[in-house]
Structures are given as structure tokens and as C-alpha cells.
């Protein structure tokens, strides 16, 4: 097996993950090919689009149609009842406050019956096993199923079963799964990650929960990124766009801005990436650069 050169890892970050379209636009214009794509949560949508060979424009339009407010507009009343009366209404691990009908339809629209075998670039999507908490790397089957599992935000959408495992959102185990690219033997890893925003004022239980989740997942992101940066013998290039505006969950209107800033963030790292590629294309037998 020939050694994969450049891997792209897109971490969780909701609508902010659209910045990866800009990243790809930059790499494309510079003629730097990607040999392997890994995606987690929101990043899984774009990882899949990239792997299937969608161009930037259709990837962008796919998000704007996929991710609209009505995806979360249908509360699941039965789930609410099961929250209050767990015994009568059968509360189980498949709990979600919102119905996932529209979400599933949209994913079917976006990805159809495309499978991992249809990908032009090897694709890896991460989720989290809800029973054991382990990270799950999905590499086969329908892409729509894998993405659905990876974006199963806890409490919002019900978990999704893939290959007999009940899966929830990939960010719970690793928000930026660089480890998958390392295990696949990638030489240079471009990792685009997003920190969750801190709440400015905590005025409700919901915001309190968001703030807690931000604190923990940001620390998980930093710790696992720090470890993988140390453990990997070669190079992990972090692309962490700092957006000029605050991005909310459904700010799909800001996607053009996200794409531009994602491209700019990648462009900043280009000289370094070029140097690494030049070094690795020369025959070498010993030592990391």
C-alpha cells in the first residue's frame, strides 16, 4: 500500500464546519491533493462531500438546504412525555427532544444512497458508541447513515444505529479525530477544528448546559489534540479559523463569510504545508522532519 500523503481532518463545530469548503478551495487552487478525509459531527457532512468529489459551490448549497431551522422545528411530544414519565412512555437510550424525520429526509436528499465505496477519496466518519463511550470509526455502508450518527447531538436528536451499535455525536469522544488519520498512516495531517463559544451571560438552564458542554468539549479538544500532536512522528497542521463574527447554530446566511475565512486560515498555513510536502517528496529513510 502506498503511503497516503496529506490527510484532512474536519472537526465538530456545527455550521462553522462550512469553513472547510474554503480550505478545500485553497488546496484546490494550489494543486495540493488530499489522500484521505476524516470528519466528525458537522465536519462529517463536508468530509463526505469532499470525498464524493462535490465542488465547492454544490457543497455550500447542500448545507444551506440541509441545515435550516425547520430541522429542529418538530418537538417529539412522546419523548417529552417519556422524560417526565419514564416508566409509562418507555424512556430509553434512543431519546431525542426533536423528531428526526426532516433531518433524515434532508440527508437522504443530500447523499442519496451513496456509500463509502462510491468515494473518490477514502472517507472516515467518527461517532461515539452510546453504550460504551468508545469512539466509532465508520468506513462502510450508506454515507447518509454515517453522517446521521455523527451529528446525533445528545438530547436534541435520537442516537442512530450503525452496524448494530447505537451511536451519538462524534464530538463526545474526540471533537477533532486526528487519531484516525494517524492510524491510517497519513504523513501530513491538516486538521481544521473549532472551539465551542462560551456563553456571555448565563440566563437559563439551557445556556448553563451549553456553557458546561463548551467547557468540557473544549478541554477535550485541546487535550486530545495535544496528545496526538506529541504522539505523531510527523506533522499535524492545525487550521483554527478565528471568525470575525459570532456564529449561531443556524447562521447559514453567514456561510459565504465562513468559507472565505476558512480559505484565509488555510492560506496562512500554506508555506508550512509546502515545505513539509517538499521535504517528504524527497526520498528519505530516517527521522521525522
Amino acid at each position: 500500500m502506498s503511503r497516503p500523503g496529506v490527510a484532512l481532518v474536519i472537526g465538530s463545530g456545527g455550521v462553522k464546519c462550512a469553513a472547510s469548503i474554503g480550505l478545500m478551495r485553497c488546496l484546490h487552487s494550489e494543486d495540493i491533493p488530499i489522500d484521505l478525509v476524516v470528519g466528525c459531527s458537522g465536519g462529517a457532512i463536508y468530509a463526505a462531500a469532499i470525498a464524493l468529489g462535490l465542488d465547492a459551490a454544490s457543497a455550500a448549497s447542500m448545507t444551506t438546504t440541509l441545515w435550516t431551522r425547520d430541522v429542529t422545528s418538530q418537538p417529539d411530544r412522546r419523548a417529552l412525555l417519556s422524560l417526565v414519565f419514564p416508566k409509562w412512555f418507555g424512556f430509553d437510550g434512543r431519546f431525542g427532544l426533536k423528531k428526526d424525520t426532516i433531518l433524515n429526509e434532508r440527508l437522504a436528499q443530500g447523499f442519496g444512497n451513496a456509500t463509502f465505496a462510491d468515494c473518490k477519496i477514502p472517507l472516515f466518519i467518527t461517532a461515539t458508541d452510546f453504550r460504551t463511550g468508545e469512539q466509532v470509526t465508520i468506513t462502510e455502508g450508506r454515507i447518509a447513515d454515517a453522517v446521521r450518527a455523527s451529528i446525533a447531538i445528545p438530547f436534541a436528536f435520537p442516537p442512530w444505529e450503525v452496524n448494530g451499535r447505537l451511536c451519538v455525536d462524534g464530538f463526545l469522544s474526540d471533537p477533532l479525530p486526528v487519531g484516525v488519520a494517524i492510524r491510517e498512516g497519513a504523513h501530513v495531517i491538516v486538521a481544521m477544528g473549532f472551539e465551542s463559544p462560551n456563553q456571555e451571560r448565563i440566563t437559563s438552564g439551557g445556556r448553563f448546559a451549553f456553557q458546561l458542554s463548551s467547557i468540557m468539549t473544549n478541554n477535550l479538544l485541546r487535550a486530545s489534540f495535544a496528545f496526538h500532536g506529541l504522539a505523531h512522528h510527523s506533522e499535524v497542521i492545525a487550521v483554527l479559523p478565528q471568525f470575525s463574527q459570532r456564529i449561531r447554530l443556524f447562521d447559514t446566511g453567514k456561510i459565504p463569510m465562513l468559507i472565505d475565512e476558512g480559505e484565509a486560515a488555510m492560506r496562512e498555513q500554506l508555506p508550512y504545508l509546502r515545505r513539509l510536502l517538499a521535504a517528504s517528496s524527497a526520498p528519505q529513510t530516517t527521522g521525522a522532519p
Binding site: 437510550g93 453504550r131 451519538v168 487519531g179 498512516g185 448553563f208 468539549t217 504522539a231
Partner: protein, 366 residues
């Protein structure tokens, strides 16, 4: 806090330089009483400690130890402490959480009666300060607004401990030096990094994984499961990073329990202490070997950064490749694994911890 300051109060024998030993007790609610078992073993075996670090429940016992309290006292008081700590609810908070519009949402939720918690902590720590400790002592907490890791080492110990045990939802955040702080477990459940920065050569790190409930049959259990998944991953990721980065020895003490112990199950404390003692004894032979080999030569306190670059430089791509596809085995790999251990206890119980240090004090057995 500088090294010279800590050196002055070090218990180390002045005539002979020996390894600097750090004790780190992680977060884990009532499971932290297992630290009493560890402290009993340290006392019994006459193992000195130079630096104490604690997080959340672990801060209680690291603190009492650093202040010089007798471990038998701690054991005797532990039942009372945990019977009183989290068992009385604060009904107004409960009402606020359920109906914020009626009762006025407070920025912080705290379902447990705070006054009771304070009384319990006061009975243990009084108004003693960090300056009263017989060794340098550090408490890990989390900044509630920014989520950053915070290290406390000044002022009253009780304030630092109260901040560090502010378990989300149960206890309100606690202001210390103009910062609002919550549970250290939310950012740094097993704060080995603090002991590394204090220049420890050998670090005894007692950590606790959260237990996965068998079934999810209610909303509370669903919340519990979700947060357990994240905290366990955070524990493993930070542990993996710290032990890769540290030039010397991190001895993990991760007791295995045959049952789940909830935060209010104070009757289980004697069982927990016993398990902690057992887990600690398992590490003693290895610790003795380390002390024997390191005591002879002067301990090297290298900056963390230098150690890291040495570590990475020493790992050649070929060895990395050869270990990559192999499933985690009992023998410690020559290079760091590609992912944090799937389970701390599982990966560590089989063999002495993989020695990642550049200096080979004790070669791992075949």
C-alpha cells in the same frame, strides 16, 4: 510558585538528593476516599511526598494530607464527611431549575444545600491556608466563564477546595480571586501537569474513571451517560498527553471496582478505602525499584519542553510504523500509542506503566 520556594519546605533529606515525589489525586466524587487507602500505604511504607496536587474530591484528601493531618483521623472522619456532604438538597434551587420564570433563574444552579457543604469543609480545614501546609499544595479548578484550567496555591485552603468540588448542577460556582470557578474535573480531571511543572521526578497519580450505567432509563441517566462519556475521554486524553510529555515516571493508580458507587452512598466508604489501599500496594514494588535506582544519582529536573523534544526525537518512524497496526498488548510499546488508551484501568493493570522516560531507571520486564 517557584521551585526555590518549594525547595525550602521540601521534606527531602538535605545531605542526599533523592527523587522529588509528587502525589496527584484526581476527581471522582466519593470514590476519592480511595485516596485514604493510598495515604495509609504511603505512611505505612514510609514513602515521602514533596508536592501534593488535588482536583475536586481529590483536593479534599490531598489538602488534608498536605496540611499534615493524620491519615487515621481522615479515615475516621470520612464517613461523616460524605454522609453530610451532598445529601441535603437546596429546594429553592430545585424550584428555580424547574420553573425559572416563577422563581427567577440564578446564573448558577446548585441543587445541594451549600451551607451544609461549607460546614463540612470547615470542620475539616478550618481557616488554614496554603502557607500552613507542610509541603507545596495545589488545587485544580476550572474558570466558569472561559473554561480554562486554573491552579490555586494561595489563600484559604477551604476556598480552593470548595471551588474545586463545585460539581456542575450540584454546587454553585465559587469566586476565588475575582474569578468564578467550578469543578476542576471539567478541565483537568487528573492534574498531573501541575506536578510536572513543579519538577517532580516520580508522580503517583490516583485517578478515577466514571462508571457507565448499564441502562439508560431516564433523562437524568441520559445526562449522566453523556457526561460520563466526555469526562472519561477527557481523563484519558489528558493522561495520555501528560505521560507522553513527562520525562520521568507517572505511576497511575486506578483502582478497579466491582460495583458503581454513587455520590450519596457513604456506607460504601470503608469498601472504597480498602480498594484504594489494595491498588496502592500493587504499585509499591515498582515504586521501590524506581526510588532505589534514582536515589543513587542526582535527580534531573529538566524543563518539560526539552523532555518532550527528546521523546519525539527518539521515536523513529520505523518503530512507530511497526507498532501502529498492532492491537494494544500487555507489553508496553516502544513508542506512544496512536490513541489515548481505550480504558485507563485496562491498559495499566496488566503491566507496570510504560516507561516513556529517556533515562532508563527500571527496564520494563519482558
Amino acid at each position: 510558585m517557584s521551585l526555590s520556594f518549594t525547595g525550602e519546605r521540601s521534606l527531602g533529606d538535605l545531605s542526599q538528593r533523592r527523587s522529588r515525589i509528587g502525589l496527584v489525586i484526581g476527581s471522582g466524587g466519593i470514590k476519592c476516599t480511595m485516596a485514604i487507602g493510598l495515604l495509609k500505604v504511603l505512611a505505612h511504607e514510609g514513602i515521602p511526598v514533596d508536592v501534593a496536587v488535588g482536583c475536586s474530591g481529590g483536593a479534599i484528601y490531598a489538602g488534608l494530607y498536605a496540611l499534615g493531618d493524620d491519615v487515621r483521623d481522615m479515615e475516621a472522619r470520612s464517613l461523616v464527611v460524605w454522609r453530610d456532604l451532598f445529601t441535603k438538597l437546596h429546594y429553592r434551587s430545585l424550584a428555580r431549575a424547574i420553573a425559572p420564570a416563577f422563581f427567577g433563574y440564578h446564573e448558577q444552579v446548585g441543587l445541594v444545600d451549600d451551607r451544609r457543604v461549607w460546614d463540612v469543609l470547615e470542620s475539616q480545614f478550618g481557616m488554614r491556608t496554603f502557607a500552613d501546609c507542610r509541603m507545596p499544595f495545589f488545587v485544580a479548578a476550572t474558570d466558569y466563564r472561559t473554561g480554562e484550567k486554573v491552579t490555586l496555591s494561595e489563600g484559604r485552603v477551604i476556598d480552593a477546595v470548595r471551588a474545586s468540588i463545585a460539581i456542575p448542577l450540584l454546587l454553585r460556582a465559587w469566586p476565588v480571586q475575582d474569578r468564578l470557578l467550578v469543578d476542576g474535573g471539567a478541565s483537568n480531571p487528573l492534574p498531573i501537569d501541575i506536578a510536572i511543572m513543579e519538577g517532580c521526578d516520580i508522580i503517583l497519580a490516583m485517578g478515577f474513571e466514571s462508571h457507565m450505567t448499564a441502562d439508560v432509563g431516564s433523562f437524568t441517566q441520559a445526562i449522566g451517560r453523556t457526561s460520563t462519556i466526555v469526562t472519561n475521554h477527557l481523563l484519558r486524553a489528558t493522561f495520555a498527553f501528560y505521560s507522553t510529555a513527562h520525562h520521568a515516571e507517572v505511576l497511575p493508580i486506578v483502582p478497579l471496582l466491582d460495583r458503581d458507587v454513587g455520590i450519596t452512598e457513604w456506607e460504601q466508604v470503608p469498601y472504597l478505602i480498602e480498594q484504594g489501599e489494595k491498588a496502592a500496594y500493587e504499585q509499591i514494588p515498582y515504586l521501590r525499584r524506581l526510588l532505589a535506582s534514582q536515589g543513587a544519582e542526582p535527580a534531573v529536573v529538566a524543563p518539560m519542553q526539552r523532555a518532550v523534544s527528546a521523546e519525539i526525537g527518539a521515536t523513529s518512524p520505523s518503530t512507530w510504523r511497526s507498532t501502529r497496526p498492532a492491537a494494544p498488548s500487555a507489553s508496553p510499546p516502544a513508542s506512544p500509542p496512536a490513541s489515548p488508551p481505550a480504558s485507563l484501568s485496562a491498559s495499566l493493570s496488566a503491566a507496570p506503566p510504560a516507561s516513556l522516560s529517556a533515562s532508563p531507571p527500571a527496564s520494563p520486564p519482558a
